[in-house]
């Protein structure tokens, strides 16, 4: 004799929907961060007057070991100017902004070629700095 099974209900628990949606939202917010160079080690220099750097297509980092990174990828100094020029293309105005993140103790023989490369590529330099807090 066959005993027929009761059909099992397979419903998606609706209670978890909010959590899932929220986690997805956070996931895409993290992905939307333009360039990921957060893993690089560098300390910004300080200055009194700073403005908001805003978003940029190009970000150049000189880390604590004086290595060069273009949008998070390590590059040589010779490749920098042509690659920046290629990324900037025929953009105009604020789109030609290049974020320059230089370790505070990097020396002129490392950062001056970068500044020269950016100016040769026709980019607008934005030094990423920290606001100097004056001692009272």
């Amino acid at each position: 004799m066959k005993i027929s099974r009761r059909p099992l209900a397979a419903n998606v628990p609706s209670m978890a929907m909010g959590d899932i949606a929220f986690n997805l939202l956070i996931f895409f917010v993290i992905l939307a961060k333009a360039t990921d160079d957060s893993h690089l080690q560098w300390d910004p220099a300080e200055t009194i007057d700073v403005t908001r750097a805003g978003a940029a297509k190009v970000s150049v980092v000189i880390d604590a070991d004086s290595k060069y990174y273009l949008n998070g990828q390590q590059v040589g100094i010779a490749q920098l100017a042509p690659q920046i020029e290629q990324i900037l293309g025929s953009t105009t105005g604020d789109d030609r902004r290049v974020l320059l993140k230089v370790h505070r103790d990097a020396t002129a023989n490392h950062f001056e070629p970068i500044i020269e490369a950016v100016s040769e590529a026709g980019g607008t330099i934005m030094h990423v700095l920290e606001e100097k807090r004056l001692k009272k």
């Binding site: 209670m15 000189i62 020396t107 700095l129």
Partner: protein, 143 residues
């Protein structure tokens, strides 16, 4: 006749969800903390070809710096870094034409970036237009 209810109804949030809520809150604040916008200073530096042309026409102001954080050289004279701004402002006051306001910045190879930023900030605040002159490296082949 009034009939009293037996006991009070307990209204508790479901305890199984508190772990999820706490985790989501942690993630939310972590993401908020990591998306701090960058701040900085814009700088306009003319292309090197333009520099050469301008250098030939007029005698520009020169600021040279080394690893010494307390002093810089202004037109060959050693001045304190703290006095650079006022000295430059005095010189630039007599130069109304933009092409005369070009300040050539020379740095020794060991000049640290934070010093360079301080000095160039002083030049820009005094009304100078920065242009960079790098130390030329020459390779001599001995046969």
């Amino acid at each position: 006749m009034r009939i009293r209810r037996k006991g009070k109804l307990l209204v508790e949030p479901p305890s199984s969800a508190t772990g999820d809520i706490a985790f989501n809150l942690i993630v939310f604040f972590l993401v908020c903390a990591s998306i701090e916008p960058d701040s900085g200073r814009p700088q306009e530096i003319p292309r090197s070809e333009e520099n050469r042309e301008k250098k030939e026409e007029v005698k520009n102001i020169e600021v040279a710096m080394t690893a010494n954080l307390n002093a810089v050289s202004l037109n060959g004279d050693t001045v304190r870094t703290s006095e650079l701004g006022s000295r430059l402002a005095r010189i630039l006051k007599t130069k109304p034409r933009p092409e005369d306001r070009i300040v050539i910045v020379k740095s020794k190879t060991d000049t640290p970036y934070h010093h360079w930023i301080d000095v160039t900030a002083e030049i820009e605040q005094s009304g100078g237009q920065i242009t960079i002159q790098r130390e030329e490296v020459q390779t001599i082949e001995v046969q």
